[in-house]
């Protein structure tokens, strides 16, 4: 054949090349790699192709893959590559040789010639030889590309194949499956020699030559532990635990080892070991136990909490009921139980009737409660959050009515949904009783008030009556005084004429009279004067009572006053034939009083003394009592005297000891009464010392200096 001419450039096909490149990367053996290359070239060029490489037995090459060639041809090619000095063998000895035309080959193995291209790392001796049945001398671009890209790969595979011993290999898929198992899976022979380990197992039991010393030690330890454990169990199916070390972390791990002896198809017995990590399980168990304990503790806590809550609720005197959203009773405290719970079985046979009524009351109470709760239940009442009402329940034990105020509140969950209703009852018995008592108190109080008012009104009426009576009395008294004043005037006017004419006659205005005429006229005169005296005394009493008797206070001396009295009384004294003596205390002071009234009193007392004394005399004495600052003028007689029983009476109006019409002594009976009143006006008094037949002593006591009242 001619020297190889350059091949026309084959059309570039990047797609086909990419497919081949990917395929080559996936190839894990030299044979597969060679097959891919040969197939690709044969398809592209429609020419026979082959790849020759070293065989298993050292020194003899084999045809790794071929297309379109007979077995003899394949063998011839292999031999030609091995034969020293052959054109093909030059590729082994001449690194960098590029190609060889087939016609250079003796004993043509491929009719038509072929191109041979060395395969291997650039610059190194060829690891294999690629041959394509194409005429030379030009090497098509495809072939050059295949040689350059597949060469290094094939060389690597051949080196790897040569290093790794040939051993029974599971199928690739199966291998992948096993690798995917998360538990470590190992295949060993019966001595424990490792035949295969999946990825997880390798992590624990295999260390590459470039592993760290720590990992090496951990793996060695693990292998020893594994082998020892495996040896203990024999070859039957067995479970046991293996403690291993995590080579990465150094943690203790615990595995369960399950071993199964398997008889390989080609004879030798192998052992499949599956390790299951118990460490996590242990931890899980431990965690579970812990959780369980916590759960128990929480439950216990919850129970005690619930218990405490129960006790709190029970300690509340007011009945409390918790109901679910449907109105069913969930919980109630003791006070609520007394009203709403079915009574405990009483046991005693004789209490059937009582039980019956108790049950009826409980039923009634429950019915009342249900109708009360209906105000909160159902979609209609969704907007109502609380309800308050008054219920009258029956005490199941006694049947007495229990007025209650019930207050129900909805309990809402986190999402606002109704989770329950709490109802609290409040016993209103006391409140009602208090209200009733209050009402009663109010009634009584208003009754009392009415009574007080009527009493007050009555009192006011009485007062008014009294006031009117007082006015009437005053008016009557004034009328009496006025009457007496008028009467005295009416008396005086005619008396004035009587006394006047008598006086004129006695003076002889109408000529001289005979002695009997004169005597009779004198009697008219004296009776007229007596009448005048009576009228004057009545007038005095009236004036004193009417408060129309004023005090005229002045300085005067007692001796002069007594002299005047004696002088005025002289005619009467002379007629009485009695001795009248006056004795004045030495050093009698001047007095400040109503002279006229003092004189009137003394005149009256002396006149009385003379009237009631028949023999003996009258003794007048005046003295000043320094201690009391009073003046005392006493008139002592030797007259008939006055019995003690009458001593008070004689000072009363119109009273004498003998007030009978046949009495022996004249007079109005007003004299002493007037004296006593006048003495009182002076701030003094009139006293009496007397006994029948022993004479009498009347004494006027009055203060030396009178005070206006």
């Amino acid at each position: 054949m001619a020297s190889p001419a350059p091949l026309p450039p084959a059309e570039a096909d990047p797609g086909a090349r990419l497919v081949l490149a990917e395929h080559l990367l996936a190839c894990e053996s030299a044979v597969a790699c060679a097959r891919a290359v040969v197939d690709w070239l044969a398809r592209r060029h429609g020419a026979p192709a082959a790849c020759v490489g070293p065989g298993e037995v050292a020194g003899a090459s084999v045809c790794l893959a071929s297309e379109g060639l007979t077995g003899a041809q394949q063998a011839a090619l292999a031999r030609a590559w091995d034969a020293p000095g052959s054109p093909l063998a030059t590729f082994r000895t001449r690194p960098g040789a590029r190609w060889l035309a087939a016609d250079a080959l003796e004993g043509a193995a491929m009719p038509g010639g072929f191109l041979a291209v060395p395969l291997g790392r650039p610059g190194a001796t060829a690891a294999a030889l690629l041959m394509v049945g194409l005429p030379g001398p030009a090497v098509p671009e495809d072939v050059a590309w295949v040689a350059s890209s597949a060469g290094p790969h094939l060389a690597r595979q051949l080196a790897s194949d040569a290093r790794a011993p040939r051993r029974p290999e599971p199928d690739r898929l199966l291998r992948r499956v096993i690798n995917a198992v998360s538990d470590p899976v190992l295949l060993t022979d019966t001595d424990g020699t490792l035949l295969f380990a999946n990825a997880r197992a390798e992590g624990l039991l295999v260390a590459g030559p470039d592993a760290s010393p720590g990992r090496m030690r951990a793996v060695e330890l693990n292998q020893r532990l594994f082998r020892e454990t495996l040896a203990q169990g024999g070859t039957s199916v067995h479970r046991r635990e293996v403690p291993l070390v995590d080579p990465l972390e150094g943690m203790d791990l615990l595995f369960e080892l399950v071993t199964t002896p398997v008889l390989a198809p080609d004879g030798p017995s192998v052992v499949v070991s599956v390790l299951r990590n118990l460490t996590d399980l242990g931890r899980a168990t431990q965690a579970l136990g812990e959780s369980y304990r916590q759960l128990r503790a929480t439950e216990r806590e919850a129970r005690s909490e619930r218990h405490r809550l129960d006790r709190v609720l029970d300690s509340v005197a007011d009945p409390i009921i918790l109901t679910d959203p449907a109105g069913g009773m969930v919980m109630m405290n003791d006070p609520a139980e007394r009203l709403f719970a079915w009574p405990q079985a009483q046991g005693a046979a004789g209490e059937g009737a009582a039980d019956e009524s108790t049950l009826r009351r409980v039923r009634t109470n429950i019915a009342l409660f249900a109708s009360f709760l209906a105000n909160l239940l159902g979609p209609v009442n969704a907007g109502v959050s609380r309800w308050k009402s008054q219920l009258t329940l029956d005490d199941p034990a006694t049947g007495s009515p229990v007025p209650m105020e019930a207050m129900a509140n909805k309990v809402l969950g986190d999402g606002g949904e109704l989770t329950g209703i709490v109802t609290v009852f409040h016993d209103r018995t006391e409140v009602l009783e208090r209200a009733r008592l209050l009402e009663r108190v109010k009634e009584v109080s208003s009754e009392l008030e009415a009574r007080v008012q009527s009493a007050t009104a009555e009192l006011a009426e009485q007062n008014e009556k009294l006031r009117r009576q007082a006015i009437q009395l005053e008016q009557a008294s004034a009328a009496k005084s006025q009457f007496l004043a008028n009467m005295s005037h009416e008396f005086r006017t005619p008396l004035n004429a009587i006394l006047g004419y008598t006086n004129m006659l006695l003076q002889g205005v109408s000529g001289e009279m005979t002695p009997p005429q004169r005597r009779n006229l004198t009697r008219i005169d004296s009776n007229g004067r007596h009448l005048l005296e009576v009228i004057n005394e009545i007038l005095d009493i009236t004036r004193i009572e009417a408060g129309r008797m004023p005090l005229h206070l002045s300085d005067f001396g007692i001796p002069e006053l007594l002299q005047e009295v004696m002088a005025e009384m002289d005619p009467i004294i002379a007629r009485s034939k009695l001795t009248v003596e006056t004795r004045l205390d030495e050093g009698l002071p001047g007095v400040w009083s109503d002279r006229q009234k003092v004189k009137q009193i003394v005149l009256n007392l002396l006149s009385n003394a003379l009237k009631f004394t028949h023999e003996g005399g009258v003794h007048i004495a005046a003295e000043y009592q320094n201690a009391t600052g009073t003046v005392a003028i006493s008139v002592k007689d030797t007259g008939i005297g006055i019995d003690v029983s009458n001593q008070e009476k004689i000072f009363e109006d119109f009273q004498q000891v003998d007030s009978s019409p046949t009495r022996a002594y004249g007079g109005t009976g007003l004299g002493l009464s007037i004296c006593r009143r006048l003495a009182a006006m002076l701030g003094g008094r009139v006293s009496l010392q007397s006994a029948p037949g022993q004479g009498s002593t009347f004494t006027l006591h009055f203060p030396r200096r009178a005070r206006r009242t």
């Binding site: 005295s488 005086r492 004035n496 004429a497 006047g500 005048l532 004036r543």
Partner: protein, 136 residues
């Protein structure tokens, strides 16, 4: 004044509505040497007093038509009669009368019953006082 030689006796005007008393005093006054004029009430007393200008007037206080107090007030309020002494006579012994009488201008005060001789004494006293006052 009125003491002309023919009328040397003093003139006393007796005013009293009670005829017996009036005539009794008049008789005793004449008996005692006085001339007497009489009046039954206050108005008559004023008329007589202005007409006769008496030396003394005896005036009962309780009078019809015009009472003694009013009559006295008028007499004392008139220049013609102002100087004539007035002796008040009353049966009312109550206090108010005296005060009223003094206030009205009475020169003396006599309580009834008053005996004719006591009254004449009072009249003489009045005339003496007046003469004494006139002599000064």
């Amino acid at each position: 004044m009125t003491n002309s030689p023919e009328k040397q006796k003093p003139l006393v005007l007796v005013v009293d509505d009670y005829q017996d008393a009036r005539e009794m005093y008049a008789e005793y006054l004449e008996f005692s040497g006085f001339r007497v004029a009489e009046a039954k009430n206050g108005q008559e007393a004023l008329d007589k007093a202005f007409e006769l200008v008496p030396d003394v007037i005896l005036m009962d206080l309780s009078l019809p038509v015009m009472d003694g107090w009013e009559a006295t007030r008028r007499l004392k309020g008139d220049a013609r009669t102002k100087g004539i002494p007035v002796v008040a006579l009353t049966g009312h012994a109550l206090k108010g009368h005296t005060d009223d009488a003094n206030e009205a201008g009475c020169d003396a005060y006599v309580t009834k019953p008053c005996l004719p001789d006591a009254l004449v004494d009072q009249v003489k006293k009045m005339i003496a006082r007046r003469d004494a006052a006139a002599a000064r």
